[in-house]
């Protein structure tokens, strides 16, 4: 059985936090550049020019793309033949977040929900683990800002609402968010499972490479249709009007109960940060 020291996980998480916050991955950047060529509204173009110029400055100056460097969501895919040594996995991930946010001059935005007392080091991370075949560990770090997270929603639809109900709920969520979620957005949608599964699916949809389609052609068709519908709302970049309200719609599905149709919509602003490594 392969062994992996959790100290290496701490190092990887720290590095991924800084990279994710200061340099947007190529998939999202490509969609933003495409959006700039498609946008026609004057203010929309003004906003997209600033968004693209900001990416250059952030990378050059090693500054966070956005001052809201988020609460750190960490996905771990752990091979079932991997043996982790040297300490507690959760503590190792949090140590990485602590180090990354300290050394990278990233904002510490995490606090107790009721007392509102800041933990001062951006821990704890929100950690999702999955056991998979193999002997490797895949780490994905996705710092999530509150502007778009606050406008995300979940609804337990009735089966009779069907696909039309799903489309209506996604559109209502994007429209209600307006400019508050910092469009152009990536819209993550989780359909099926249970309440918590739908929410997790929506988040997982957001860490898929941006602009890729679901392997199931029917789901991919729904992604494309929703993107067109969302971009017909006219909300536009930053809600100032325009053609580009979303860069992509990404859906994940899971079987659900005969009596249920859970749908979660997780909105992601244009600073769609995600970085992965396989150890």
């Amino acid at each position: 059985m392969r062994e992996l020291d959790v100290g290496l996980i701490t190092e990887a998480v720290a590095r991924l936090c800084v990279e994710a916050c200061c340099e947007l991955s190529a998939d999202v950047r490509t969609l933003l550049e495409k959006a700039r060529t498609e946008e026609e509204s004057e203010l929309g173009c003004f906003v997209l020019d600033q968004v693209l110029a900001n990416l250059e400055v952030a990378a050059r100056e090693q500054l966070p793309i956005c001052q809201d460097t988020g609460i750190c969501v960490v996905f771990l895919e752990i091979g079932q033949d991997l043996h982790l040594t040297g300490g507690d996995l959760t503590a190792a991930v949090n140590a990485g977040v602590r180090r990354g946010y300290q050394e990278g001059y990233l904002r510490k935005s995490v606090l107790s929900p009721l007392t509102r007392v800041n933990t001062m080091d951006n821990t704890p991370a929100v950690i999702h683990t999955r056991i998979v075949p193999g002997e490797h560990l895949k780490i994905t770090v996705a710092p999530k800002g509150a502007g778009s997270e606050n406008m995300s929603r979940l609804m337990m639809l009735k089966p009779a609402d069907g696909v039309a109900g799903v489309k209506r709920f996604v559109l209502e969520t994007v429209t209600a968010a307006g400019g508050c979620a910092c469009p152009p957005l990536i819209v993550g949608v989780g359909i099926g499972g249970t309440m918590e599964k739908a929410a997790l699916l929506a988040k997982e949809a957001l860490i898929r490479p941006a602009g890729t389609y679901h392997p199931d052609p029917a789901v991919a068709a729904l992604e494309k249709e929703l993107l067109v519908l969302i971009n017909q709302t006219g909300i536009g970049p930053q809600g100032l009007g325009g053609k580009v309200t979303a860069l992509a719609v990404q859906i994940e599905t899971y079987p659900t109960h005969i009596a249920a149709l859970p749908v979660a919509v997780n909105l992601q602003c244009h600073v769609a940060r995600h970085r992965s490594v396989i150890l």
Partner: protein, 183 residues
């Protein structure tokens, strides 16, 4: 619409009155940072009849909680936060002389009405363009509430900050559905 207009702080009435929602402006001068808790404390002081830590007359507030300042830099990344969270505090500050607010997203009808009453303006910066906006900051000094960390009030000297007029002194609102320049 959409020619660049120069705007300076402390606010000048002749510049403010020439603004139309949808205008792009380049702002230079002093802005004070403030977000949720700082607003709460400022309004609490006003209600208690206590003086504010700085004079609000003709001043500008920038809704921002910057990232930490790296060594050798003036400030960390500093883009706008969502303005609507501060709507409940804003009319009281406008009554005290506040003239310019910088944030992102729409304001409540009460705030739009107060902007009109006090001949003020609400400007939006591009959300997420935080490293770019940091380049406009030439000086930063702590003014109040250091215990709030990134939410403390700072006095920033800014040059040519690129903004859009969202609500002008006549109360024309770029986010309102009936604004012709919105679509």
């Amino acid at each position: 619409m959409a020619t660049w207009k120069e705007l300076h702080t402390p606010a000048r009435p002749e510049e403010l009155s020439g603004l139309t929602s949808g205008d792009r402006v380049s702002l230079s001068g002093v802005v004070y940072t403030a977000r949720d808790v700082a607003h709460q404390r400022l309004v609490a002081r006003l209600e208690a009849g206590q003086p504010l830590p700085f004079d609000l007359e003709n001043q500008a507030l920038f809704y921002v909680g910057p990232s930490p300042t790296p060594p050798g830099k003036i400030i960390g990344s500093c883009g706008p936060t969502t303005s609507s969270r501060l709507d409940v505090y804003t009319p009281a500050l406008l009554a005290k002389g506040l003239k310019i607010m910088i944030g992102k997203g729409p304001r409540s009808p009460q705030v739009v009405a107060a902007i009109r009453r006090y001949q003020a303006a609400y400007l939006v910066a591009t959300g997420g363009a935080a490293a770019l906006l940091a380049q406009c900051v030439k000086e930063a000094a702590l003014v109040a509430y250091p215990d709030l960390g990134p939410e403390a009030i700072y006095r920033l000297e800014v040059e040519r900050m690129p903004l859009i007029v969202a609500v002008d002194p006549q109360g024309r609102d770029l986010f309102a559905q009936d604004n012709p320049s919105n679509k």
